[in-house]
C-alpha cells in the first residue's frame, strides 16, 4: 500500500507470518507493520497468537513461512541473539529473569563485561543506573530478582531491553501486574522512548490502556488478523467485539450486597515471607456471607502470603484464621477445604493445576478421595469423567476432550478450568486471588459474572487483586494492603480509583 | 624359604581368598594320616610324571561370586586344574557364579554333563556342595576351603582345607625378627575365617619370637567400599600403620590388601608380606622391592592333587588338610630381599617350620572355635 508522504517510515514489517503448533495454527499468514517511533498495540483473546507472533519476531521459534523486514531490508532471525543484535528488544509475558541472580547479572546476561577472566559487575551496574535515571526507572542493581516485587521485576525487564540498545521494543502484557500509578509511570517512560525514536509493540488485554497509549491497534483472532484501527476510530466496546467476535459486557452489573453472618474471620495475623521477613503484619478483618471483600494492593505487599496463610498453604507466625467461628489449624489446606473454602490461586501454574494430567483429574484435584469420586478403596473413573464433561459444558472450557492434558490449554481456558473446579465443590467461602490475570476480556466477563453469582448465592467472597478496576467493579467493601498491613477500608460504592490508588502507594 | 614356588603361571596375585573352615575342624580321630594325603614329593608339578589316562576324564570347576580372574583364590584353584589338564591330558571347564543362588544350578550343570569330578571353590558353596554330593552319591566332588564335620562329610565329597594360621605364623615369625622399630602391622580383608586365621597365626608368630613387639591390624569393614576390592582404603590403612612406625606389614585382603602393599612401596624402610601365592611373581616392580615374602596357601596344589587322586583312582571322600606337613602352605622365597634376611633369622624361621611340622610349635588357633571371635 502507498503511504501518504507525512507518515513516518516503516521500522519493521512482518509479511505472511505462519506458525503451526501440533494441533493449532497459532499464526495464520499474519502481516503486521510498525512505524518508526509509534506505539502499535496488538490485541486478541487468549490463544489468539500474539505471543507466538512476537516469539517469531524474536527468533524463539522459526516461522513456518513469512518474512521480516527491518527498515526495509529483509532480515533473517535464527535466534534471540540475532534479534538482539538487530536492536529488537522484548519484555516477555512471563518474565525472563533468573530469580537467584542479581538485577545486574540478569541484565548483562548474554552480553557480560569481563575484567581479565572474571566478570565485571561494576561497569554494567553504572550503565544500569544511568539508564535507570534517564527514563526514571529506579532499581537497585545489586538486589536479587527473587527479592523484588513483580512491578520492579518488570522494570528490570525494560531496562534489560534498553541496556541492549533496543530500537524496536516489544512489550507482551506489561501492565498485567501494575498499579494504576505504575501504569502511568510506565506510559511516561514509553512516551520518552518513542520520542527518542524507539518503536514499540504493545500487547495488552486492557482496552483502556490500549486506547490511552497506542497510535494504532491491530486485532488478532484465532491466529488471523481481523483488522487494524486507531484509538480515534474505535472505542472499547468495538475493540472487545473485534477480539471475541461477539458483543461483550465490559461492566459487571450486580445488585446491592445483603451481608449475613461472618464466615471468614482473620485475627491479628502475622506471616513471614520466604525470605524470613515479615510479610503480613498484624492483619484483622472479616468477610460475611453474601458480600465481596476486595483486597487491593500493589504486588508484594503481603497479599500472597496473606492468602497462603488463610488457605493453609503457609503457617502464620501468629494470629488466627477462623471459618464459621472454627479456628483453622496451621498449615493444613485440607482442613480449610473441608470447612467449605474454595480457592482460586494467584499462581495457577504452581498451585492450580497438574499440567501433564488430564483435565478430568485436574477438575477433581481436591475432592478425588471422597464420594462420589471414590467408593471404598477405589476411584470411580466414570464419575470423574462425567464430572469433567459436565463442567466443560457448564463453564464453556475450550478443550478437545476431558482427557487432554491441562497444560496444553490456553491461559484463559486453564483459568476457567480452575474456576470450574473450585465452584463445583460445596462452598461457603470463596477466596479468589488475581482471578483474571492474563485472561482475555471474554473470559474476564465470564469469571466476574461467576464471582458475583457466588456472592448472591450467599457465599462469602474474598477477592485479592492488583487489578484496580476489578476491585472497584466487584467489591462491596475494599481493604487496601500496604507493607503487610491494612492501611484503609473503603465502601465499594463510594470509593474512587485515585483515592484507592493512593492508598495502595501508602499515601493516606 | 620353605616351599618352592609353585608351577602356577606367573600372574599378579592378591591376598589369600579367606576360606571358612578351621582347617582342623576334622576331629583328631579322622585326622588324615600321612598316607591319606599326597606325598610331599608329589610337589611341585614338574615332578609329576605325565600319566596318560585311558579315557578322557572331565573336571568341572565352579567359583563362588569371586571371579576366575581374581588373580587369587579362584584363579589359583583354576590354575591347579589347568596344570592337571596339561599333566594328565584331562578335559576341564569352569563356571563363574554371578549370584550365590546360582551355585546349585552351576553344579547341576556339570552333574548333568556327567563330569567325573566337580570342584567347588570357597566356603560360600559349602552347603550347596554338600547337598549336591548327597543328591548324586556317585558324583565325585571336592570343595576348597570347607571341612565337613564327620556327620555331614559325604563319602563322595572331599574337603580341601588349609592351615592359613600356620602360614600366618611363619610370616609373623619372620616379621617379628626382621622389625627394627619393633612395630608391626597388618591390613586385612573382611573378617571371614581364612582371613582371621591368617591374622591370628601372624600375630602368634610375632609374639613367639618378639614378645614385646607392638602389633597393629585392621580389617576392612563391610561398609568400607566393596569387600576385598577397595585398594584405596587398604592403602590408607597401611599409611596409618607406617605412620605408627610399623616397618613390616602383612597384607591379606584381596585388592584391598594389595592397596596396602602399594602404599608400603611408597614409603622407605618398610617391608610388606603378601598372601595366598608368591606375589613376587605377580605384583608390580615397586612392590617387588619391598615384598619380603608371601604367606602361601596352595589352593592350586590342592585342586591339582584332587584331580590326580581321581586320575590315579585313589579318590576318597572326607577332609584333607593342606598344611606345613604336606607343603600345602608355606612361605614364599625371599627373592631380592634374600640378602636382607640374616642367616640367623633364616635358621630361626626354618626352626619354626620344623616346630610346626613336628607339632612342638602351635599357632594357638582353636580349630573348633570361630577364628574371627
Amino acid at each position: 500500500m502507498t503511504q501518504p508522504p507525512d507518515t513516518p517510515a516503516i521500522a519493521l514489517e512482518m509479511r505472511g507470518m505462519t506458525k503451526r503448533f501440533p494441533g493449532v495454527l497459532a499464526n495464520d499468514r499474519i502481516s503486521f507493520d510498525l512505524r518508526l517511533g509509534e506505539i502499535h498495540a496488538l490485541l486478541g483473546e487468549n490463544g489468539a497468537g500474539k505471543s507466538t507472533l512476537m516469539n517469531l519476531l524474536y527468533g524463539l521459534y522459526p516461522p513456518d513461512s513469512g518474512e521480516i523486514l527491518l527498515n526495509g531490508k529483509a532480515i533473517h532471525i535464527h535466534g534471540p541473539r540475532d534479534a538482539i543484535d538487530l536492536g529488537i528488544g522484548m519484555v516477555h509475558q512471563h518474565f525472563m529473569l533468573v530469580p537467584p541472580l542479581t538485577v545486574t547479572e540478569n541484565i548483562m546476561l548474554g552480553m557480560e563485561e569481563t575484567r581479565g577472566l572474571l566478570l565485571d559487575a561494576v561497569r554494567p551496574a553504572a550503565r544500569i543506573r544511568e539508564i535507570a535515571d534517564r527514563y526514571g526507572l529506579e532499581i537497585d542493581p545489586d538486589a536479587k530478582i527473587k527479592d523484588l516485587s513483580v512491578g520492579l521485576q518488570q522494570r528490570v525487564e525494560i531496562v534489560k531491553a534498553l541496556y541492549r540498545n533496543a530500537r524496536v521494543l516489544v512489550l507482551d502484557e506489561p501492565t498485567a501486574v501494575l498499579t494504576p500509578q505504575e501504569v502511568d509511570a510506565l506510559f511516561v517512560t514509553l512516551r520518552t522512548l518513542v520520542s527518542q525514536g524507539v518503536s514499540i509493540i504493545f500487547i495488552s488485554h486492557k482496552l483502556k490502556e490500549v486506547m490511552a497509549i497506542a497510535n494504532r491497534i491491530t486485532v488478532l483472532r484465532q491466529g488471523k488478523v481481523v483488522g487494524s484501527t486507531t484509538p480515534a476510530e474505535a472505542d472499547e466496546a468495538k475493540l472487545a467485539s473485534m477480539m471475541v467476535g461477539r458483543p461483550v459486557l465490559l461492566t459487571v452489573e450486580k445488585g446491592p450486597a445483603t451481608p449475613a453472618a461472618t464466615v471468614l474471620d482473620v485475627h491479628d495475623l502475622r506471616v513471614m515471607s520466604d525470605r524470613r521477613s515479615v510479610a503480613v503484619n498484624g492483619v484483622n478483618f472479616h468477610v460475611r456471607a453474601g458480600e465481596i471483600v476486595g483486597i487491593a494492593g500493589v504486588e508484594g505487599n503481603g497479599q500472597s502470603e496473606l492468602v497462603e496463610a488463610i488457605t493453609g498453604l503457609r503457617a502464620p507466625a501468629s494470629g488466627t484464621v477462623s471459618i464459621d467461628g472454627v479456628e483453622m489449624p496451621h498449615e493444613n489446606p485440607r482442613a480449610v477445604i473441608m470447612a467449605g473454602a474454595s480457592h482460586i490461586p494467584e499462581d495457577r501454574h504452581k498451585f492450580g493445576m497438574v499440567k501433564d494430567y488430564p483435565l478430568s483429574t485436574n477438575l477433581v484435584l481436591s475432592s478425588f478421595d471422597r464420594p462420589p469420586f471414590t467408593h471404598g478403596f477405589l476411584l470411580d473413573q466414570a464419575a470423574i469423567d462425567e464430572n469433567a464433561r459436565k463442567l466443560v459444558k457448564e463453564f464453556d472450557i475450550r478443550t478437545p476432550d476431558e482427557q487432554t492434558a491441562m497444560g496444553s490449554l490456553s491461559g484463559g481456558n486453564q483459568q476457567k478450568s480452575v474456576v470450574a473446579r473450585e465452584f463445583s465443590r460445596p462452598m461457603k467461602l470463596l477466596i479468589a486471588a488475581q482471578p483474571t490475570r492474563g485472561v482475555d476480556v471474554g473470559s474476564i466477563e465470564f469469571i466476574h459474572r461467576r464471582i458475583v453469582e457466588a456472592r448472591d448465592a450467599g457465599n462469602a467472597v474474598l477477592l485479592v487483586s492488583a487489578e484496580l478496576d476489578e476491585i472497584m467493579s466487584l467489591s462491596d467493601r475494599i481493604l487496601v494492603m500496604f507493607k503487610g498491613q491494612i492501611v484503609g477500608e473503603r465502601d465499594g460504592e463510594t470509593a474512587t480509583r485515585s483515592d484507592v490508588g493512593l492508598l495502595m502507594m501508602g499515601k493516606t | 624359604g620353605a616351599a618352592t614356588p609353585t608351577a602356577v603361571p606367573p600372574k599378579p596375585t592378591e591376598a589369600p581368598k579367606p576360606t571358612a573352615v578351621p582347617a582342623t575342624a576334622v576331629p583328631p580321630t579322622a585326622a588324615p594320616k600321612p598316607t591319606d594325603v599326597p606325598k610331599p614329593t608329589a610337589v611341585p608339578a614338574t615332578a609329576v610324571p605325565p600319566t596318560a589316562a585311558p579315557k578322557k576324564l572331565k573336571v568341572g570347576l565352579v567359583t563362588d561370586v569371586g571371579s576366575l580372574d581374581d588373580k587369587s583364590f579362584n584363579a589359583s584353584a583354576w590354575a591347579g586344574v589347568q596344570r592337571a589338564m596339561k599333566d594328565f591330558g584331562i578335559e576341564a571347564k569352569a563356571i563363574e557364579s554371578k549370584q550365590p543362588t546360582d551355585y546349585q544350578k552351576n553344579i547341576g550343570q556339570f552333574v548333568n554333563e556327567k563330569y567325573d569330578l566337580i570342584i567347588t571353590v570357597g566356603f560360600l558353596m559349602g552347603d550347596d556342595t554338600a547337598k549336591a554330593a548327597g543328591q548324586y552319591p556317585d558324583q565325585k566332588m571336592a570343595i576348597v576351603d570347607v571341612g565337613y564335620y564327620d556327620d555331614k562329610a559325604p563319602k563322595n565329597g572331599m574337603g580341601l582345607n588349609f592351615a592359613e594360621d600356620q602360614s600366618g605364623l611363619l610370616a609373623g615369625t619372620l616379621a617379628g625378627l626382621m622389625t627394627k622399630s619393633n612395630v608391626l602391622g597388618g591390613v586385612y580383608g573382611l573378617a571371614i575365617p581364612p582371613v582371621c586365621k591368617f591374622r591370628k597365626g601372624y600375630e602368634a608368630g610375632i609374639k613367639s619370637v618378639n614378645a614385646n613387639a607392638k602389633v597393629f591390624g585392621v580389617y576392612q569393614g563391610p561398609s568400607d567400599g566393596t569387600p576385598f576390592q577397595n585398594p584405596a582404603w587398604g592403602a590408607a590403612r597401611a599409611k596409618d600403620q607406617i605412620q605408627q612406625k610399623a616397618d613390616v606389614i602383612f597384607s591379606a585382603g584381596g585388592n584391598t590388601g594389595n592397596g596396602g602393599l602399594e602404599e608400603i612401596a611408597k614409603a622407605t624402610g618398610v617391608l610388606g608380606i603378601g598372601v595366598d601365592q608368591d606375589q613376587f611373581l605377580t605384583l608390580s616392580d615397586n612392590v617387588k622391592k619391598i615384598l619380603l615374602t608371601s604367606a602361601m596357601k596352595r589352593v592350586d596344589q590342592a585342586t591339582y592333587l584332587a584331580v590326580k587322586d581321581v586320575v590315579d583312582g585313589k579318590f576318597k571322600g572326607g577332609n584333607v588338610v593342606f598344611d606345613i606337613k604336606n607343603d600345602g602352605i608355606g612361605l614364599a622365597p625371599y627373592h631380592d630381599l634374600d640378602s636382607k634376611v640374616s642367616a640367623d633369622i633364616k635358621t630361626k624361621v626354618d626352626a619354626a617350620i620344623k616346630g610346626l611340622k613336628d607339632g612342638t610349635l602351635k599357632t594357638g588357633v582353636d580349630p573348633a572355635a570361630d577364628p574371627c571371635k
Partner: protein
Amino acid sequence: MKRFSIASIWGSAWAPIGSVALALVIAGIMMAITNSNPLDAYRALFEGAFTRPGTDTRPTAFFETLVSATPFLVLALGISLSFAAGLFNIGAEGQLYMGALASTMAGFMLKGLPPIIHLPLALFAGALAGALWGGIAGWLKATRGAPEVVTTIMLNYISYSVVNYMVNGPLRGTGSAPRTPDIEASAILPALLAPPERLHWGIAIAIACAIGYWVLMKKTPLGLQIRLVGANREAARYSGINVNRTYFLAMAISGGLCGLAGAIEVLALYKFLPTEFTTGYGFDSIAVALLGGGNPIGIGLAAILFGALVNGATYMQFSAGVSNYIISVLQAFIIVFVAAPGIVRDLFGWIRLRRKPAETVEAAGAKG
C-alpha cells in the same frame, strides 16, 4: 492415564524389540573384536535363558529365568513407586538386605509354628524391615528435608555392616561357615515343582505385587495422591494432600516391597542367611524400573529380560566361554536404546541413508 489399545501396545512394542536387536549387534561386534564368537554366545545365551529343557539334574532354563526375574520384579515395583512420588530410592539394595535379615530371624528364631502362620509372618517381617529402612529415608525427607538420594545411599552401606555383623555375631550358627542357622521348614517358601526345578511361590507373590501395584497406582485415591505429589508437589499441597505424609508412605511402601524381595530370596532359595548373599540386585533393579516405565506390564517384561540375561549368562559362559561382563554391556545398550528410541530411529535412518536416497528417512522417522 493413557488408554490401552492394540495399536498403542504394538506401537510401543516395536521400539524395545528394535532396541534389543541393536544392542545384541553392538555387543556382538565387541565380542567379535575380542575374538569370541557372538553367534555361539547368543545361541547359548538364548538356550540358557529360555529353551534349554530340564533334566533330572538340571532345572528347565525358562523356569530358572523366572526364578531370577522374581527379585527384579518385586524390587523394580518398589523403586517405581518411589519414582511415582518424585523420589529416587537408591536404597533398594539396603532395604533388600534388611528384609532378608528380618525374615531370616523370624524364620529360624520362631519355632513350632504352623506354616500357615510362620511363612506369612516371616514374609511380613521382611517387608516390615524394608519398610522401616525405607521409611527412615522418607521420614528424614518429610521432617528434615534431607534428600533421599543421599540418605538411601548412606543407609545401603549401613545395612551391609548391620547384616554382616549380625550374621557373624549374634546370629551366627554353629556350623563352620559364618551364616545363620537354617530357617525352620515351617517358614520355607515352597517350590512349585520337584527338584531340580527351583521355581517357587515367590513368582506368584511377585505377580500379585505387580497386580497390587497397578490397582494401587491407577485405581485408588492413595495411588493418585502419590502420583500427584510426584507430578506437582505444590498443587498437591494446594489440593489438601499431606505431602510429607505421602513422602513417608511412598518410601515405606517402596522399601516394603524391596524388603519383601529380600524375604522371598532367603525363604525360597537360601533357606538361611549367608554372609555374602546378593550382588547388586538392588541396583540393577533401578534399571529394570526405568526400563519398565512405571507400568507393571513393562516392569514385568523388563524383569524377565534381566532375569533371562543373568540366567542365560551361565550357559553362555559354559558353552561359549564368554565372560559375564558382556551381559552388563548388553543391559546398558538395551536400556539406552529403549529409553531413547530417537537413537534407534536415527541409526536406522542413517543406515538407510547409506543404502539409498533420503525419502526412506521420513519412513523411519514416521514409524517412531
